[in-house]
Subunit: 388 residues, 2 copies
């Protein structure tokens, strides 16, 4: 039915360099929230560490909007360290000497898992906007297929930040018996109106680029690079706090002693943002950006549980560690607090830490001592309890 | 040298319907901070009420980024009430039965005052990006020329919000003897790194639109409408608080009972933002958006006073009323507090009110009872003192 193999390239935009790929044929479609059956499906993933004999030490790490499966290895496209190399590795909180760590590219993504840049086998062309919309729950269902494929019944932990944290919460809600512990970080159980608004501006920036061509840019051999860069620049501001931007850049000028009285990037912060935009388009597919932001917009766990978030977690035995950052204004602490209140109402085991940091939302990706200490402590205690 | 006349149309983008226009010839150039002498210069403006015999009752109202001179009359393009009709009019805080109110379009703007869409007389073509960069101080210098032209030595009050508030502070710093009282609202004496970042994303969205054509779209008979709409959408989010977006729209769906699983505007907030973008391009020039945002970025009063904001106001006799809104995250209360501290250090007469509101930055444009009460009281007391 499926096979774990070295990467095979099915389209230029869906390479999965250095990743394992699980393939699911027509007999095992992914049934999406929209009702569409997606098939064939391939999932690109990385693993770190060894699965123990009891198959009890697996940790699933879930990536954020623009992340991918390369959590803890050098990224094959950018050459930079994996996005969670502060958290995953030997002796790190998610200790690869102790745990078997899995990280897969989400469905709808662009680094090896089936998404809008994949070839639709019925047409022989990239799906583009004919790809069905996916939800966070669809992403989690695909991950569950991968976990099945790897022969793992229960995950010792599911962990992730931002959109990764949404997946953590959805795992705990959809598959409570398969999640021993959960670490949703800098996240929410519902995407706010403000965050939907930011998503929409990014999508409109992409769609405004004539090179987007109604989504069919791959067939035309082009890319909406300018629109995608603008989307990234705007989003990037929301990942940092005002304090962080002030400390990093303030109003310092770039390579000059006085303003040029032009539209050049006089200020360092302008130059930084332009670089962020340009670098991003080298590694991310514009249509995937549309699909994955849309998945976040639709996310509302309470909405699928009679409007009561606690109902999503009643009877759960999962141990939760909820973490927020004080200067995160994209997923403010209030969002995490709502999750904690619901978990308390459901009688769950919950630890909650708001980490005081001025680094904003992206703090979950940084080497924050309190994040390291909190997650290490939580996982070590859970591992003792679990007998790992 | 100059003449107050009915509007004359010098280019399609610089019409000033229903406005008065003051023209300044080559013998009276506007000397800009960049060193460039801008000439000829025309300033489109509106007045409300009557100048008294002592010429002591003039109030200058300064508009924000996307505002214009139509503060208190029906807007000739949109047909909507003037942008500050809550504040300016008979019996309003800036009472046109009592004061002579002036509001002019800023230099670099696009509703009648000389800006990048105006015709460069040397080439017979629109200035586009050959128009010199202007600063907030340049806007204020142009307003001072208009005030001279109207035969007014001292303004009873200079008032405005956001970028209008920047002009108020610059008036008080540059022409202290001409400003009896000042009301800087929802503003700052320096544009923050985060605000520069938001500006830059908007500019990049415009410049990414191929219809921008290096700024020469008017010559080509086109407009970067999509890019400008994206810029407006992104900026608009910053004008509202998260609470306001939540209250106005939440996650409510637009004209449908369930998500469509498409990229249509499922959510009301998406539909609202798209409308904001589309409506904006009908009334605003893209190059003006570049120039005016740049003027805000360069704004740093302390920077031109040895880095000490109080130095800009030493010896001032102007009476200040500084107002901020608790949920304004674009110009947070901390910005106003810095202004108040500097004014206190300079020994100025200052009132400071932080108005508790969940409406965000745009609260200064709304019918906020505490804003009305505060400004009415401040102006009435100042008018008594001034003998108006």
């Amino acid at each position: 039915m499926t096979s774990g193999t070295l990467p095979q390239i099915s389209a230029s935009q869906v390479e999965s360099p250095d990743s394992l790929v699980a393939r699911f044929g027509p007999e095992r479609p992914l049934v999406l929230d929209s009702g569409v059956e997606l098939s064939p499906l391939q999932i690109a993933y990385q693993t770190y560490g060894e699965l123990n004999a009891a198959r009890s030490n697996a940790v699933l790490v879930c990536h954020a909007l623009t992340g991918d499966q390369h959590a803890a290895n050098v990224h094959p496209v950018t050459g930079k360290p994996g996005w969670w190399s502060t958290m995953v590795g030997p002796g790190k909180p998610i200790d690869t000497d102790r745990y078997f760590v899995i990280c897969s590219n989400v469905v709808g993504g662009c680094l090896g898992t089936t998404g809008p840049a994949s070839i639709n086998p019925e047409t022989g062309k990239p799906w583009a906007l004919t790809f069905p919309l996916v939800t966070i729950r669809d992403m989690v269902r695909a991950q569950a297929m991968l976990v099945d494929f790897l022969g793992i019944d229960e995950l010792f932990c599911v962990a992730g930040g931002s959109m990764g944290g949404m997946q953590v919460l959805e795992w705990a809600a959809s598959f409570p018996e398969r999640v021993y512990s959960a670490m949703p970080i800098a996240t929410a159980a519902i995407h706010s109106a403000q965050n939907i608004a930011f998503s929409e501006v990014g999508r409109q920036a992409i769609m405004a680029d004539p090179e987007w061509r109604g989504g069919r840019y791959l067939e035309a051999g082009t890319r909406p690079a300018k629109g995608l860069a603008v989307a990234r620049m705007g989003a990037h501001i929301t990942y940092l706090s005002e304090e962080a931007l002030h400390r990093k850049f303030g109003r310092r000028l770039q390579d000059r002693s006085a303003p040029t009285f032009t539209f050049d990037a006089d200020f360092q912060v302008e130059s930084y943002l332009r670089h962020q935009g340009e670098a991003f388009v080298e590694r991310f597919d514009a249509n995937s950006y549309l699909y994955v932001t849309r998945a976040m917009d639709y996310f509302d766990i309470a909405g699928s549980h009679d409007g009561i978030l606690a109902n999503a977690f009643r009877g759960t035995r999962t141990r939760f560690c909820v973490i927020s950052f004080s200067s995160d204004w994209l997923f403010p602490t209030g969002n995490s607090r709502s999750v904690v209140h619901a978990l308390n109402a459901a009688g769950a085991s919950v630890s909650f830490v708001e980490i005081i940091s001025d680094k904003g939302h992206d703090a979950f990706l940084l080497d924050e001592p309190e994040l390291i200490a909190t997650t290490s402590g939580f996982l070590a205690a859970a591992a003792r309890k679990r007998g790992i």
